[in-house]
Symmetry: C2
């Protein structure tokens, strides 16, 4: 079991802002990247937080992530746009693209933005929530390097291809964000870094002992058997693939190489197209509360609406600080040391 | 094990057209309903085909499905519409709504149509395929009476809430259509009617022996445990619920009663918003073929692209006739007899 140390959000903000500015990003861009990374850690999704710093570090230093580039609009209508990410940092590309989708939805009712030639953009839910915080319905999809094994296949072919969807009520909110694999590889990594066993079929090596060497061959949501719904998780991953890699003409997960080429899809819809916005939002609030109040299998275990656990984690981490495992600490310390940046003291 | 008899498509067409006209539907509407029902049987989805006739029969006779009504537009923009289904037959409401979404997408690039006060509309994929056959990307969602048990809950609260997505290439095509439960209740029914055991956790009674009496409490895709992704299937079902029941202001699955109130969501997108349509279609063809050519776990078992099995079933059923189990045959015979309609002879 790995040791976890806790840091104040502010101390990690300073650290990450400094590191990203040393790479050559502007102060504003560094703050934006930091915001998305720490949002993941704060909301209990460490797989997509600071533990990815070493991964991004390698890609920035190798030039796969281009510090000097930003997304460019290739084609645009009042309701749509396609962007070339120009191999810029995925978080910056994603933010620019969803902002554009939101702007279009606010003016025309709907905004659809596809993106090619981007990089890993962190938590898909961040972008969906940008829309829901603006009073819209938000959808955020991305492909990634091949890691999901299709039903009946013996090789990874799709990415984890997450689906994130956000919608807010007047007082309550819904934020779904999940890979179409049973778990993300980030989760497998966190379990390995923290030395915890997992009980279910997450990888091909869990399912078929002849594939023991490859932990990077993930089961679709629904596992590897059709009777448990393997083809459904696989099919949902394909839907993401078609809306990202195919529709943006940027390339599918099986074509994404160490040189990048990740594609995204963003959709924002204004609910007022369909009726009174406040009435819709109030009915969402009421629905989510009815759902939480449903009968439970175990009285001690709540029924969580997507987003609830993240809100609870945020409250806890605001109080206690952000937990970081010691493998990740060592990785970030090495990056900071290279730049002669002080590493913060744990709480 | 139930006996299956096979019928020509033509003989079932005549039978269903006659039955639906006897209920009072026009000839055109009867043909439309028949087309959607037989499409399900032809493509190997008997859960949504003629085995549902008795279910619809009860609802037509009780007045839950209104023969004399049709969907009405409540509010419309060039890119959107909201319809009141007026408790008409769901298949007719769904067809009208997706046709409207397609028309808007052909003119404005995108069409989003939400529907309230409808009824069960058959296979969700039929409507997604209407869009893909028109050269568009199609999405079709519906809620239904509560039957999915949320993660940690002990009562059904969501519908099976399927997601259907269609996109066509130049020569190939993709059609995904799946409940966000591990299986649809129609599938549980077909297994029961045909007397076949199933090996996996499909219902709450499979998971927890204290719920033996209720077969109508289905597992989300991912089962009942978070480690196998239960919360993901549950969350996807909620996404469907929000886009159908909440956005249309028609009511969520937990509110759908014997008096109806099913809600749908349809989206059509013209790929040409994002680039050269033919290039996108060709890259889809190439991608689907690469996918089928991926390495297999078992050389004898192909990698099926969503839609492939349906195409194979259609070819087989065109040759051999449509299989119908004897329980369903007896049910339809009783309906036909009431109307003094001849029942066709099996092949």
């Amino acid at each position: 079991m790995a040791t976890l140390k806790r840091f104040t959000k502010e101390s990690l903000q300073i650290l990450l802002n400094d590191i990203y500015q040393k790479y050559g990003f502007s102060k504003g861009d560094s703050q934006q990247i930091t915001e998305i990374l720490l949002k993941a850690d704060m909301t209990g999704i460490p797989s997509h937080g600071v533990q990815r710093l070493k991964y991004y570090d390698g890609k920035i230093k190798s030039g796969q992530i281009r510090v000097d580039k930003q997304a460019e609009i290739i084609k645009e209508t009042p309701i749509s746009a396609i962007l070339d990410g120009q191999s810029a940092m995925g978080h910056l590309v994603g933010k620019a693209a969803m902002d554009l989708a939101i702007q279009k939805a606010q003016q025309a009712g709907v905004g659809i933005v596809t993106v090619r030639n981007s990089n890993h953009y962190g938590i898909a839910g961040y972008y969906a929530e940008l829309a829901s915080k603006a009073g819209l319905i938000g959808l955020s999809l991305t492909n990634s390097r091949a890691i999901m094994v299709p039903t009946n296949a013996s090789q990874p072919f799709l990415g984890t291809n997450p689906i994130a969807f956000g919608m807010a009520g007047v007082e309550d909110s819904f934020l779904f964000d999940a890979a179409t694999t049973t778990v993300s590889y980030g989760k497998v990594q966190v379990y390995e870094k923290r030395g915890i066993d997992h009980p279910e079929t997450w990888t091909l090596s869990d399912y078929d002992p002849s594939f023991t060497s490859n932990k990077q061959a993930l089961a679709p949501l629904g596992g590897f058997k059709e009777a448990s719904g393997s083809h459904k998780g696989f099919g949902l991953g394909l839907v993401v693939e078609l809306l990202t890699g195919i529709l943006s003409q940027g390339g599918t997960s099986d074509q994404i190489s160490e040189n990048g080429g990740i594609c995204h899809f963003f959709l924002a819809i204004d609910p007022k197209l369909f009726g009174d916005k406040e009435a819709i939002e109030k009915s969402l609030d009421a629905y989510l509360q009815r759902l939480r109040d449903a009968d439970r299998l175990d009285a001690e275990i709540p029924i969580y609406v997507p987003g609830d656990k993240e809100k609870l984690a945020k409250k806890a981490n605001e109080r206690q600080g952000i937990p970081v495992d010691d493998v990740t600490i060592a990785e970030i310390q090495a990056i900071a040391q290279d730049f002669d940046i002080d590493f913060p003291t744990p709480i």
